[in-house]
């Protein structure tokens, strides 16, 4: 059994168990700390105001990021999150195939799959001829069409790696400035994410060599590290994706928009 076999056939149940334990632990803490008590009468606002408030609660940090920290917006939000890890993790066609192997309903997302490479989409845009084919499509056959010039594993992985690299650099500078909010865990988390992306990119391009042993090792490392991330997710800052972001913004909406009646 090599590392790829271990990653695909052995590790998953342990990963799920670690995640479930961590998630339960973190959620139970919230439940045990909760105390019931009388609350204030909410300021009455219309349903429209509350809906607008909900949308703006999620949008305001993005607007402020564009206004106050455009470099962070581009690298952190756009490159790392929106164009980087989110579509890569959930929509890369190889990932959809892998997730559907473990959890068959995931295959429903197959029509939205984004391809690994940009070769065929580049040809769609750039080649002076159309392929000879009896089928209906040209070079690309996904729902994204020529957009795959951009929406593909190669480009998105590079963007995500640049985004992570920026974040690591930013944290190094902050540490050098003596800011104490940067923790060693931040470097571990970002380093882990960067390594996963790098090994995924290398596996996709059969790097550093095309022989099967190397390929299986590189892909195996990519998957094992991704499984490590999932297992550690409830104990690291990655928890924000599962819980922190949603709970935080919904609580803010309840606190400011529902209870206190802020209408913006």
């Amino acid at each position: 059994m090599d590392i790829l076999d271990f990653a695909v056939y052995v590790a998953p149940p342990y990963v799920v168990a670690a995640f479930a334990f961590g998630a339960t632990y973190r959620l139970l803490k919230y439940i045990f700390l909760w105390k019931r008590g009388p609350g204030p009468e909410p300021r009455k606002r219309g349903a429209g105001s509350l809906v607008k408030g909900l949308i703006m609660t999620f949008l305001n940090p993005i607007i402020e990021s564009i206004r106050r920290k455009p470099h962070d917006f581009i690298t952190g939000l756009v490159m790392l999150h929106i164009l980087g890890v989110i579509p890569l993790i959930f929509l890369l066609d190889q990932h959809i195939a892998a997730f559907a192997y473990w959890f068959p309903p995931y295959a429903l997302l197959a029509p939205l799959a984004i391809p690994l490479s940009f070769t065929t989409s580049a040809l769609t845009v750039a080649a002076p001829f159309k392929p000879v084919s009896e089928m209906q499509w040209g070079f690309v056959n996904t729902i994204w069409g020529p957009l795959t010039v951009f929406l593909n594993g190669d480009v998105l992985a590079v963007l995500a790696m640049l985004g992570v690299a920026y974040k690591i650099g930013d944290k190094i500078v902050r540490r050098a400035h003596g800011l104490t909010h940067v923790r060693i865990g931040d470097f571990f988390d970002l380093g882990l994410l960067f390594t996963i992306l790098l090994f995924g990119f290398m596996a996709a391009h059969h790097l550093p060599s095309g022989d099967i042993v190397t390929y299986r090792t590189v892909l195996g490392i990519h998957i094992v590290l991704a499984e490590l991330l999932v297992a550690l997710l409830p104990f690291t800052k990655f928890w924000h994706f599962v819980f922190g972001f949603w709970y935080g913004k919904l609580h803010e909406w309840y606190d400011l928009k529902y209870k206190r009646g802020v209408a913006e």
Partner: protein, 453 residues
């Protein structure tokens, strides 16, 4: 008056204080502590970021995280260097923590800017509570808390003379005796001693409005507090609760339908939103600011406002705007009161902070000197604390510059606001930054323009 000792370090006291802070953690605070990804999106929103990047909310709030990790988490207690978990190790570090904690106005700009809805100001409030328990609390703030809890402020001649002179002024303005401590009144007006000190005209104007509108109202004959609950500013929840409960009992004895406030700072949000939690029951009255009362009467056709032409703008206090939802209401009233009303550039949810809230403007040297003069006492502070206060004042003027620039840009001659702290800060800071502007409570703008319909 003897000052607080800022030179010593008592390890047992520090550990005890850290334990007590952990006892204040609820699920929301747990979210604030645990779910920060350290992205620092909050920092440029903070008025004190202009002073230095170490004063970004994420960095200031990290001290609470260090403290909590050192108390409750298993691995961080075994490997503190790996998880950044520790309490201050000596007097110097305690003072550094105090410096950071008193660079926060708890204005909430970090809260609405954070992608995860983390309110760093509330975390820093807990750090202040920790510091207070270790003895690191500004002398003047400690004195105000002690006086407010014990009620001894009412024995200080300077305070009471001032209070009586404001009431006399109000009586003169309405031409009749004030209906003081009247049981069964529908409205109780609840001004504080701080208003008598900083915005006495606001008390007079509020009384004029209540009288003009012909409401069945009353007010306490003596000030119920310095500016309740002052204890909250030092993170002293017990002191805050003791004062709020005392005032609540007074209000229940009067039995009003409404409690009306002219101070739209933290006293308003405390009574409007925190009162049920503090007293453990739903109050039998509604708490409203004058802005709400007047607007409701105007919209119901029971009152009208005569429009003037003053060049007036509105500074939204964080507690009244971001934390109480009264953002457009004051602007609406001011636009009725003057055809030359203009909004500030940052008007709205992201209204720029004045830079002096959360006790800052009330503990700096000019305020200490003012209080000393009023009470005929001198507050002795240690050299260490004096350095802290001098630097704090210097930094406050940097933090408030953005607001002053915004007011300057509006070309308004009058800045209306509603928070004693904001008004005091903008007055101090506008002088330093060379802006000639009159800073008043909104009730002062409205008092002469309002009429019963």
């Amino acid at each position: 008056m003897n000052g607080v000792n800022w030179e010593t370090y008592d390890e047992a006291l520090v550990k005890e204080a850290a334990k007590s802070v952990v006892g204040h953690i609820d699920p929301v605070m747990m979210h604030y502590i645990e779910n920060c990804v350290s992205c620092a999106a909050c920092e440029t929103a903070c008025p004190y970021y202009a002073v230095g990047e170490e004063y970004g909310p994420v960095n200031k709030a990290e001290n609470l995280r260090k403290l909590v990790r050192s108390e409750v988490a298993i691995l961080p207690r075994i490997f503190p260097w790996l998880f950044h978990s520790h309490v201050p190790k000596d007097a110097e570090e305690l003072n550094k923590w105090a410096e950071m904690a008193y660079r926060c106005t708890n204005c909430g700009l970090c809260y609405v800017t954070c992608p995860f809805g983390i309110h760093s100001g509330e975390m820093i409030k807990l750090v202040r509570g920790f510091l207070t328990k270790t003895g690191r609390v500004p002398t003047v703030l400690k004195a105000m808390i002690d006086m407010e809890v014990s009620g001894t402020y009412s024995g200080i001649k300077g305070f009471m003379d001032l209070w009586q002179s404001v009431l006399k002024e109000a009586e003169k303005a309405i031409g009749k005796e004030l209906p003081l401590d009247k049981k069964g009144a529908e409205y109780v007006y609840l001004p504080s001693l701080a208003e008598a000190m900083i915005t006495p005209e606001a008390i007079v104007s509020s009384i004029k409005i209540l009288d003009k509108l012909g409401l069945n109202w009353t007010m306490p004959s003596d000030p119920m507090s310095i500016r309740a609950p002052v204890g909250a500013l030092a993170g002293d929840g017990e002191a805050a609760a003791a004062v709020v409960k005392r005032i609540y009992n007074y209000l229940k004895e009067i039995g009003p339908r409404y409690v009306v406030m002219s101070d739209g700072g933290y006293p308003y949000t405390t009574y409007r939103f925190d009162l049920p939690r503090i007293v453990g029951e739903k109050p039998p009255f509604k708490v409203v600011h004058f802005v709400e009362l007047i607007l409701e009467l105007v919209e119901a056709g029971k009152a009208k406002i005569i429009q003037g032409d003053e060049e007036v703008t509105w500074h939204s206090p964080c507690k009244m705007g971001r934390f109480a939802g009264l953002i457009e209401e004051p602007a609406k009233l001011l636009s009725m009161a003057s055809k030359n009303f203009r909004k500030l550039e940052s008007h709205g949810l992201f209204s720029r902070c004045c830079g002096g809230g959360n006790s800052i403007a009330c503990i700096v040297l000019p305020t200490m000197q003012f209080l000393g003069k009023l009470t005929g006492t001198t507050m002795q502070v240690s050299d260490e604390e004096m350095n802290f206060l001098k630097k704090l004042e210097h930094d406050m003027y940097i933090a408030s510059k953005g607001k002053i620039d915004e007011i300057r840009k509006s070309k308004a001659k009058i800045v209306a606001s509603a928070c004693v702290g904001c008004i005091h800060t903008i007055r101090l800071s506008s002088r330093v930054h060379g802006l000639d502007v009159s800073v008043v409570n909104i009730v002062e703008v409205l008092a002469d323009k309002i009429e019963k319909a």
